[in-house]
Symmetry: C2
Subunit: 207 residues, 2 copies
């Protein structure tokens, strides 16, 4: 089984290759790709070896080709239709973040329980009542949910989303969620990013 | 140099140990810690070996002791004073997220340029004008900045924050930032979390 840490590196390689492609680079060495991605060349070669032969033969990786192959490995060569559950602060920020769409994630519906929000329109998409979860998920064709509700209602929301046919949930609510084995739940905690920053700042202070 | 991926695993070990401690566990095996953290026992032992001897001697790790040692390694045994730069949607969501304070990150000041926001108070903390960046950073003792401004103004904000003495920046704006070598900039991209979810969902579809 491929660990989540390996998958995260693949994402970083992919984003790095996009930037190199944007800068007009045709070929990149594993050494350069590793340095830009914060790892080492042996790790790059090992990560890629799980997925086949990316033949370097001493001349480096073709940037566009490697990017496309990693996108396929990550499953982002497919456009995932996303339902945003919770139209609050975090929901608003994620809704208007353009990078999602560039990587194959399109928000197609929004759900909330607040009567002041339900019935408003965000950039052409209605904010629907969570009561209509089943109908909205099915009619919008959503496969993935981004869950940005308060923790207290998150498990109930997950149960309703699973019943409606959602297959994957990106959860921000600070609570452990239960879901059947055929549904993938991935938890996000921004605190981990601050801890990474703390580590690198502490290093600096000690030098 | 310790890679960012290793540091991220340390964070996950730390959060896992907090949950075990909360559940009343005194000791945990490297096998169980690895499984809960999404990695393998050899990786746990290797990650910890960079930082000294965490002597398992076949009886497992003492939960509270290992947690405290990892907190010290991450530098979160110290309370980091944080200035929030940008009082918009993402800023609001991060401001009210209680998990930051539980891991040693306290938001002590808020900066924005919008006259409708400047002068308001969030939970006892004034939203100050970014024009007063230098004065506010110094008087609030902020060491770290969380940057949630539009991309177009982010580099200027970084320059002003560095002049004010900020040593670390957690950047959410989708732009590459330049900073002197004594200032740590860490970029966050939630898209990577969605890509991780995509990978695990794709796996499922192919089984
Ligand atoms: N994981 C992280 O790093 C991180 C960071 C910040 C915030 N959070 C969490 O994200 C969540 C959202 O934060 P926020 O600042 O946007 O909160 P918010 O209060 O601004 O928004 C929550 C929204 O959920 C809606 N809601 C309530 N019950 C609902 C239900 N049953 N179904 C659908 N929608 C419902 C509310 O009406 C509101 O619009 C919180 O749980 C918060 O703790 C996580
Ligand atoms: N990295 C990610 O995963 C991710 C996810 C969502 C949003 N974002 C990014 O985060 C940023 C904030 O998003 P948002 O939805 O909160 O936007 P927003 O428009 O709601 O908030 C931006 C805030 O910044 C303030 N501002 C503008 N110029 C400023 C300056 N010079 N100094 C201080 N404050 C200033 C605005 O007045 C506003 O209050 C954007 O750059 C967005 O692209 C990143």
């Amino acid at each position: 089984k491929i660990s989540d840490y390996t998958v995260r590196r693949l994402s970083v390689y992919c984003h790095t290759l996009e930037e190199l492609e944007h800068d007009g680079m045709d070929v990149v060495s594993s050494a350069r790709l590793a340095k830009l991605a914060g790892t080492n060349p042996a790790q790059v070669r090992k990560d890629l070896s799980y997925f086949g032969n990316f033949g370097k033969r001493g001349s480096g990786y073709p940037v566009t080709d490697l990017k496309s192959r990693i996108r396929k490995i990550l499953g982002i060569d497919h456009v995932w239709r996303v339902v945003l559950v919770g139209a609050g602060n975090l929901g608003s920020a994620l809704f208007s973040y353009k990078d999602f769409e560039r990587h194959g994630f399109q928000i197609v519906s929004i759900l909330d329980t607040d009567p002041k929000k339900v019935g408003t329109k965000w950039d052409g998409i209605w904010v629907s009542s969570f009561d209509k979860c089943n109908k909205v998920v099915k009619s919008s064709g959503a496969e993935v949910a981004v869950l940005v509700t308060p923790a207290a209602v998150a498990q109930d929301a997950v149960n309703r989303l699973v019943d409606a046919g959602i297959k994957g949930i990106l959860n921000f609510a600070p609570v452990k969620l239960e879901a059947p084995s055929h549904v993938q739940v991935r938890n996000v905690n921004i605190t981990i990013e601050l801890e990474g920053l703390s580590f690198s700042m502490k290093d600096l202070q000690e030098e």
